[in-house]
Symmetry: C2
Subunit: 426 residues, 2 copies
Amino acid sequence: MSKGGFQNVRGTRDFYPDELRQREWLFDHFRAVASRFAFEQVDAPMLEPAELFIRKAGEEIVDQLYHFELHDRHLALRPEFTPSLARMVQARAGGLRLPLRWFSIPQCWRYERMTRGRKREHYQWNMDIWGEPSVTAEAELISACFQLFDAVGLDRQHVTLKVNSRALVEEALRAGPLRDRPEAFAPLCVIIDKIAKIGPDAVTDQLTDAGGLVRLTPGAAADVIAMLGATHLDDAAQHAPKGSEPLAEIRRLFDLLDAYGVADSVCFDAATVRGLAYYTGIVFEAFDTEGTLRSICGGGRYDRLLETLGGPPLPAAGFGMGDVVLSELLADKGLLPNLPLAIDAVVFALEEAERPAAVRLAERLRREGQRVDLVLGLPRLKRVMADADKSGAARVWLIGPDEAARGVATVRDLASGEQREEKLTS
Amino acid sequence: MSKGGFQNVRGTRDFYPDELRQREWLFDHFRAVASRFAFEQVDAPMLEPAELFIRKAGEEIVDQLYHFELHDRHLALRPEFTPSLARMVQARAGGLRLPLRWFSIPQCWRYERMTRGRKREHYQWNMDIWGEPSVTAEAELISACFQLFDAVGLDRQHVTLKVNSRALVEEALRAGPLRDRPEAFAPLCVIIDKIAKIGPDAVTDQLTDAGGLVRLTPGAAADVIAMLGATHLDDAAQHAPKGSEPLAEIRRLFDLLDAYGVADSVCFDAATVRGLAYYTGIVFEAFDTEGTLRSICGGGRYDRLLETLGGPPLPAAGFGMGDVVLSELLADKGLLPNLPLAIDAVVFALEEAERPAAVRLAERLRREGQRVDLVLGLPRLKRVMADADKSGAARVWLIGPDEAARGVATVRDLASGEQREEKLTS
């Protein structure tokens, strides 16, 4: 034990009452938006078989896994929720009415260097749709992200959502640099995802690394990077073959987003590929418009995840939105509320003899649904009134010897300062 | 990976929508009762320094710790919340307004043999009061347990709460078998706590074990067991010295419980000592009256915990109530509700051309706060209506070519079967 007592594990958060109320405020918005989209909440254990999360495409999320051997099992704290969700879907495959619309707010863990907006744990709002193959699912999910932004007071100008299609990128690459090497596509995306963080030179190094998973020639790597510079769909479309299905799909997505009324805040970005290996189609990521924070949320289509886990094919799409980055952004914009403890009544027996009467009164008020702070000790009246003021209580009920003798309590309204007597029922 | 795909870790639970709704129903009651007592919610990470939980009194909870080395640190999944709470109080000691009234609903982990009502994880409602030395705190906590039982529909006859005072037991033992051996008291309680499970003979063996922490003579062990057979306070009082403060305290507690209106469901039981080493005063435990399940909740006073963790002395009392045992009991009594997904509206475009109109309608209804299931594919109308019925939706909004041409939707009320048209605003 250190001299100053125990510390929490580095990178983790304690939630004191003020912080917990902010967290619940945010979670309530997550739940309210999900509910308006008729999504049902689910949950899974934070501890899972480590194998569920281990993929071999060079993803950060796998390198940063909190995993360990325990009782001869290789276990991990979940770094993300999607594999657990896939496990749950698979366990009841056939018995579930499709499409599924499930949401969750799991705590997820990553062992990594801490930076602004990134700790070693965060809570992540997930919304996922299983069983719907068309981009109507992605449009619905993106619309839910914007309803959340609206609900917490983020203006459309504060947030930009970038959209791309991995299928579109893959189609172009398979016609060129990745001909006959489909297995290199997922690791390529994992590398490209880092471009904003590590720059094009470092990305080129990794794409051309002879010992890596992608192994492009320098010329091919340059082509890929140039191609992913497109920020207009029409530019990207030039790489697509005639009658490209992925191209038609992403155009249709933009049409749907228009109907949802969010198209103005969404832009195409060919470099947005996401750092998770399992995405197969549309991918998207939202950022603060000023670009000072990590991504606020990210998601996409992952039609083959269930198969890679040994299940039947089942199309799926979803997103995750972390509480840490979002809270940073809200704090920056002055949108994170300070929520006080709400108390209806403070009940105070001035002397020990009146305590049973105070207990009975508190009990009665609580049965009526009031939030009652029953003073447990015998502090001085002055202290009780000061504390009641600080805690924002609405009323103080006082029972002293005089009140008790007459079977009443003195009720003081703290806002108006008015005082009256009320009969105590026994 | 096993042939049938991944399994969740043994002893852990997935929460599918039906189960999650039941869990939230229970948590909502936890939160509502805590709020009526003016308690504030807090939370801490599930991962803590293992040392925080390791005590050397032979407790089951320590033997069953999920702990491991990771990145050169000895970490553990919390088996209970109280030590984390103590860590949080200590970190801000001096800056916190006393008494603190905090509640939490943490998930806790124990690696143990699974039996009915016990898995390897459970959620535990905790209510704790810090900074109040008198039994008014315990009375408040016990009253909250009963308000919870009432809220979920458990009659007073379904639940019995047993109360004892470790201080009373200690006082009697220090005058006899434990004279000059205060360190043996906590391990003695840990052993006594098992008496209902392993029987008096096994308890005697452990109390007299020459290699153990208690090391009583057989005669002294027999005295202890006889003494703890008392189920009336007056019997236990015979072992108390004149002017016993612990005796006065527990009598006062019963008086207070009378004022709270719960005394009829509370009984004294000298053998209730609790299996955690840190309790110092009043202890209590609630059981289903038929005695078929493990304890529903347990708690007590732990005035010296903060000191043992290196902090200042600060009186405290609290309880934990697990969701697994409570849910078992509620299920047995037919009190666990089946809660359906609540949907206000299903919105369905009969053909692809009407989808944008359906999207705009769904968007509008959601902005009004309605829970809207927007049909994402193009199933047949019959299937949509059947699904809407199954999901308990209130209304179905249909937009076909005919409706679209006239700028309306057909709205069918599923309860009444009535149908009308409503104008679509653009």
